[in-house]
């Protein structure tokens, strides 16, 4: 009798109970906290619906924080993508001995997880005012790095530091994609008289571009949400969105709690958009890897 309706079927209930712990966990610690901030962004302190918080994001301080964040993320993801692509190309198609390939892939696994506070320390010890490279350039070449306007605690310094985990991530994701370029395609194009340049322009890059662009977007989101490295490197002196949000959570520096929610919403929208695009491009890219 009870099997007549699928909704009161005992087995169906047990089936759904099986993933209940996971659902409760996801709701409590992922979905509801996020939705709470997202909805909070559209209300004022008195609990009335408003777009004022979103409008308030377009003030000079907050806009410049978003702008620097976007610049750092964009520069480090493009730089990471370019160098990462060159390295992945070198180990897959460069005809190098296999120990280099294995070594680089192992190292990439480590370096892509080496982020946060220690990474900032490493770059301070290298490119800081008394760092190894700074001192080396000064003592051996009489070249004062800091007199050129270079500063580790700036847009450029943060970009070069972020690339330490961006490049390895690119290598790890792009190596399988380059492995998927079939030798036959290259041979066929050569038989038809194509030059190396023509092969890359008309075959290689069109196949690879979803992987390349998609991974760059992933790197972008990766850098955009990162805070520990930037905070340890610059303290609160560099005005980027995660640091501004950190200060807001700590001490309501914007003097409006709901504006903090709007700030968080802006971050979710930006990382969300780049991830959605990444997933879409990845699905396109996987067609060629089968």
């Amino acid at each position: 009798m009870s099997t007549a309706s699928p909704f009161i079927d005992r087995r169906t209930i047990i089936d759904w109970l099986g993933i209940a712990p996971f659902m409760i966990f996801a709701l409590m610690f992922l979905i509801v906290p996020t939705l709470y901030l997202v909805t909070g962004a559209f209300f004022n302190a008195e609990g009335q619906f408003t777009f004022q918080n979103i409008a308030d994001l377009f003030t000079p301080t907050i806009l410049s924080a978003y702008w620097i964040s976007i610049k750092v993320s964009l520069a480090s993801s493009l730089g990471g993508a370019l160098i990462g692509f060159a390295l992945a190309w070198a180990i897959v198609l460069g005809g190098l001995p296999s120990w280099i390939r294995n070594g680089l892939l192992t190292f990439s696994g480590v370096a892509s997880n080496f982020a946060g506070v220690p990474l900032a320390f490493a770059f301070i010890a290298t490119l800081g005012r008394t760092g190894l490279v700074t001192v080396f350039l000064r003592d051996w070449f009489g070249f004062n790095l800091y007199s050129t306007g270079f500063n580790l605690l700036s847009f450029f310094g943060l970009t070069i530091t972020y690339m330490f985990f961006q490049i390895p991530l690119m290598v790890l994701i792009l190596t399988p994609a380059l492995d998927g370029l079939k030798k036959e395609w290259r041979e066929a194009s050569e038989i038809l008289g194509a030059s190396t340049w023509q092969y890359w322009r008309m075959i290689g890059l069109p196949i690879l571009w979803p992987s390349l662009l998609g991974t760059s977007l992933l790197l972008f989101a990766n850098a955009f949400g990162a805070i520990a490295t930037a905070y340890a490197l610059t303290g609160a002196s560099l005005n980027i969105v995660p640091i501004l949000l950190y200060a807001q959570i700590r001490g309501d520096v914007l003097h409006n709690p709901n504006l903090g929610y709007a700030l968080a919403l802006g971050m979710i929208v930006i990382t969300g958009l780049s991830n959605v695009l990444y997933i879409w491009l990845r699905m396109r890219a996987e067609r060629w890897q089968k």
């Binding site: 992922l30 480590v110 220690p118 330490f164």
Partner: protein
């Protein structure tokens, strides 16, 4: 062909320079504590610091709880989705990837507002509650990695046949889960555990905003106040990351060996 080989070596040379100079610089800096000569003084100073021992111990404990409870959540869910609810697979996978989309600082911001001491579930009202919240936040952060490594390991075993065989032999579900499924996906559980460990041990954002005395905030504090110890700590952190990744490779190699057995 010769040309491309030259460029390949050039790319590798640039990469090696970029990656090794900071590591070398950090190592060299960490040895400079004693004036005029190289010494391991900075390391001695780090290891003898009581706060180092306390915060590192605290983060280790949090990592262990994260791994234990995370796996108790992830393995049964992955098993159940494969066995009974394959139609829910895309949804569950989507949820496990969400922590990569939503920045950690946003997630913890939500916790602080939702679970403050005047709310219905006042996690942050007590030290014990805050510790629970910290472990939950770490499970959330490592969910993408844990779920993927367990699910990959589960792909190589036939979940349905194993379950049916165990049921025919009269096993109840705890026996099936802990004596049958867990041991068979051990390689996935272990590699998920090591990557979780690498993420959790030096994590900064969650611990700092929840005000817990973890290793990440301690690192930041040392960085702001001392000269040579931060470099020594960076080298130690790099060694820990390297160790975790090395163990993952070892486990996956071991996993392949046992699977290829006839």
């Amino acid at each position: 062909m010769k040309m491309s080989k030259f460029f390949a070596w050039l790319a590798i040379a640039v990469g090696v320079t970029y990656f090794f100079v900071p590591l070398l610089g950090t190592f060299e800096f960490s040895l400079r504590m004693r004036r005029g000569e190289y010494s391991l003084d900075a390391y001695g100073s780090v290891f003898s610091d009581v706060q180092f021992q306390q915060t590192f111990g605290f983060s280790m404990l949090m990592a262990l709880f994260t791994i234990a409870f995370g796996m108790l959540l992830v393995v049964p869910t992955a098993y159940w989705v494969r066995l009974r609810l394959p139609q829910m697979r895309p949804f569950v996978e989507f949820v496990t990837l969400m922590p990569l989309v939503i920045p950690a600082i946003v997630i913890v911001f939500g916790y602080l507002r939702l679970y403050n001491s005047s709310s219905y579930i006042p996690f942050t009202g007590s030290t014990f509650g805050t510790n629970i919240l910290l472990v939950m936040s770490y499970i959330t952060l490592s969910l993408p990695y844990m779920y993927r490594s367990v699910d990959t390991a589960m792909r190589t075993i036939d979940v349905r046949t194993l379950t049916e065989a165990a049921e025919i032999l009269g096993a109840k579900w705890p026996t099936i889960l802990f004596k049958c499924i867990f041991p068979n996906v051990m390689s996935g559980v272990l590699s998920g555990a090591f990557i979780t460990f690498a993420i959790v041990i030096g994590e900064f954002t969650m611990a700092a905003l929840l005000n817990r005395p973890a290793f990440g905030p301690y690192l930041q504090l040392v960085g702001a106040n001392k000269a040579y110890e931060p470099s020594a700590l960076a080298i130690i952190a790099f060694a820990i990351t390297w160790l975790s990744m090395g163990l993952i490779q070892l486990v996956s190699r071991f996993g392949k060996l046992t699977q290829s057995r006839p």
